[in-house]
């Protein structure tokens, strides 16, 4: 079972560039999430989705965009990369309903120089 797969694992961007972080899950989960993890700060929710075509903002959405056209995929877009977006990004998924365990991918380490 692949679970939650994130690509790429590492990426270096220049300020002002754009990129898409890919996330796909094979567990047929309705809910998907994007978090960023900064040293000493824990994980912060960027965006989440409760199903195809439905997305909503989390705690730290500024500078990011998402779309959810299929159950499996939930890409995260950075339009104008800034140094403050240097972080480790995690995608997660969970079954429908509240308080279900979230299953995380192994992350994308992004550096913006």
């Amino acid at each position: 079972n692949a679970g939650v797969t994130q690509t790429p694992k590492f990426r270096i961007l220049k300020i002002g560039q754009s990129m898409t972080l890919q996330c796909t899950q094979d567990m047929n989960h309705n809910y998907m999430y994007w978090y960023r993890q900064d040293p000493g700060m824990g994980l912060k929710l960027i965006y989440y989705s409760v199903g195809a075509g439905i997305t909503d903002k989390g705690e730290v959405p500024n500078g990011y965009n998402v779309s959810r056209s299929t159950t499996e995929d939930f890409p995260l877009r950075l339009e104008l990369a800034a140094p403050s977006q240097t972080s480790v990004y995690f995608c997660a998924s969970s079954p429908g309903g509240s308080h279900q365990p979230q299953h995380f991918g192994d992350g994308t380490r992004l550096s913006i120089l």
Binding site: Y31, G42, L43, K44, L45, S98, H99, Q102, F104
Partner: protein, 112 residues
Amino acid sequence: QQQVKQSPQSLIVQKGGISIINCAYENTAFDYFPWYQQFPGKGPALLIAIRPDVSEKKEGRFTISFNKSAKQFSLHIMDSQPGDSATYFCAASPTGANNLFFGTGTRLTVIP
């Protein structure tokens, strides 16, 4: 603003000892409190979770203690092993939601 406060930031424990990590929250809408374990280079994985209708939940060597009146909860790892060395995150979720608010993490090192 950190909605879930976690301490200590790091913890070193001898093999066989007890590891204790504490978390506190203010938002009374939180009603689900999971703990996640993260190894280097990997994503967090659910370890154990509790709801506020119970004061304690035990799974193997891992126990969550919950104090609703004090708005505090803690993770106890009994008979700590070197394989338990990881970063542990407490989290909380509001009623009817799946959004998680994470603590800042505790890096646990268990010395053989």
